[in-house]
């Protein structure tokens, strides 16, 4: 018998029902790794953005960092960090993968924040300084809160990208959605159907996240002045 790779709707639905406990668990892992990557990535990203806006030497360092990260594939970064980090610090697979994803996202997030900060009217800094506030205080109290709001839409978009990118954590052994579907595909030989099921889960997660991002944006614009 030849492995028929023509899609079977019957198999798709029966597998969808049979596998949902595993997929739910894996989806939870996908969510966790995405959240970890996004939070860590935002922290690093803000830091890199501030470097970019500070003195010329640090700016060059930040530029090199961003160029390297944006100039190499995520999967290579994951492997470099996953195996490279180990020589320095012992991380669990989850944290190693999250950290790799975070580093990747940080370069993009840094550019988002830099853009948002630079989009704030120069008059805001001048107003702060003219009141006797230091550069740091003005940054923290006046510029950043406004920049943050402005960064929400592109950040939301980046988070959606991060969610999809978390699928590559499969290759360093994280049991997230894609990893699970690989296993189930191999076990049941329902290759096509299983990967389509994985796609459905991703699509659902992306849509939920999109919805959340839109809601946050709307909230901000309502409470906005």
């Amino acid at each position: 018998m030849i492995v028929a790779n023509v899609f079977s709707l019957d198999t798709f639905f029966s597998e969808l029902i049979r596998t949902y406990p595993f997929f739910f668990e894996a989806a939870w892992m996908t969510i966790r790794i995405t959240i970890a990557a996004v939070i860590l990535g935002t922290i690093i990203g803000v830091f890199v953005a501030l470097l970019k806006l500070s003195n010329p030497v640090l700016r060059v360092i930040a530029d090199i960092y961003i160029t390297i990260i944006r100039g190499t594939p995520l999967i290579v970064q994951i492997f470099v960090l996953f195996y490279g980090l180990t020589g320095i610090v012992q991380l669990s697979a989850f944290w190693a993968a999250s950290f790799a994803l975070a580093v990747h996202n940080s370069a993009y997030i840094a550019e988002i924040f830099r853009g948002a900060i630079q989009s704030i009217d120069k008059g805001q800094m001048e107003a702060g300084r003219s009141l006797g506030m230091t550069r740091g205080t003005t940054m923290k109290r006046i510029i950043m809160p406004q920049a943050l709001r402005r960064a929400v839409p592109p950040l939301g978009n980046q988070f959606i990208i991060a969610l999809k990118d978390s699928s590559l954590a499969a290759f360093v052994g994280i049991g997230e959605l894609f990893r699970l579907s690989q296993g189930i595909a191999a076990a049941t030989f329902n290759t096509l159907e299983t990967y389509v099921i994985a796609a459905v889960y991703y699509l659902a997660l992306v849509m939920i996240l999109t919805w959340i991002v839109n809601m946050v944006e709307r909230r901000l614009s309502i409470s906005d002045r």
Binding site: V3, R18, T19, A93, G173, A186, A187
Partner: protein, 270 residues
């Protein structure tokens, strides 16, 4: 010895692993020559974590309920039992499996790893726990009858980082690599590539289980000794594992596991 025993008990008690481990320890202290606390030699308290690719059916694979199963898994669990530890399989891509071991991500590789000289530079091998060999597989309509028919233009699919991958480089220049032998077999059956080199048993079982449209061709290419890999200088653990292997062979557990998966006896080399 008594003092050690006491320590053991308090240790495992503190682990919160429960009485089972304590019981096991108790049993083992009964068995002759086994007074070592292997917990000291593993990374995680009370656990023996062994790595495999999970993509090497029937030796190790994920079943449809998302559990890691297979011959290697059963062997690994049996050995863990003998060591008085809780066995836990760990899935990782094959071509990263030795790195992960040396990165201290797990205690051992029990994943159908054949003993080779290159690998011996990086890991230490136990006594072999089964014997097998490589074989050529092709679709039933293929002209390729044996390894001799493979030339530089034959597209051969293998799993990345396997001994088959290394070996076939002397024959073909058109090598396609996958993360898994099973995927290589599947894609061959789908009409991609001209041949696959993989383990004879892996090929045969998958042809049968999946109804793949492919056949075994020619003789066994070589014979491989499959062994458990540890980091170098883990002599105590190595000793324990070899002892455990011997124990399960003697107790008949090995044979029982063998029969779960294979009709033939894979435990003895020729």
């Amino acid at each position: 010895a008594c003092g050690e025993g006491d320590e053991e008990e308090t240790d495992t008690g503190a682990d919160g692993d429960g009485e089972e481990t304590a019981d096991d320890n108790g049993e083992e202290t009964d068995s002759p020559g086994d007074e070592v606390d292997y917990d000291e030699y593993t990374l995680e308290d009370g656990k023996f974590v062994f790595a495999l690719s999970g993509e090497y059916r029937p030796f190790n694979y994920v079943d449809e309920t998302n559990n890691l199963v297979g011959f290697d898994v059963d062997i690994g669990m049996a050995i863990a039992d003998e060591l008085g530890l809780e066995g836990e399989p760990y899935q990782i891509t094959w071509n990263s499996i030795i790195l992960g071991l040396n990165d201290n991500r797990y205690d051992a590789i029990i994943g159908s790893m054949g003993i080779t000289e290159e690998r011996q530079e990086n890991v230490a091998f136990s006594d072999p726990y089964y014997y097998s060999g490589a074989q050529v597989f092709t679709r039933s309509d293929s002209d390729i009858q044996s390894l001799e028919d493979i030339d530089e233009n034959t597209e051969v699919a293998v799993a990345e980082g396997t001994t088959y991958h290394t070996m076939i480089q002397d024959y073909s220049e058109e090598i396609v690599t996958y993360d898994s032998d099973v995927v290589a077999l599947q894609t061959l059956s789908q009409g991609r590539h001209d041949a696959v080199i993989t383990d004879r048993l892996v090929g045969l079982i998958n042809i049968e289980d999946q109804g793949l449209d492919i056949e075994l061709r020619g003789d066994l290419i070589d014979s491989e000794e499959m062994a458990i890999a540890l980091r170098h200088d883990e002599d105590e653990l190595m000793e324990g594992i070899n002892q455990a292997l011997e124990n399960i062979r003697e107790s008949g557990l090995y044979e029982e596991i063998n029969q779960r998966y294979f009709d033939e006896d894979i435990g003895e080399g020729n």
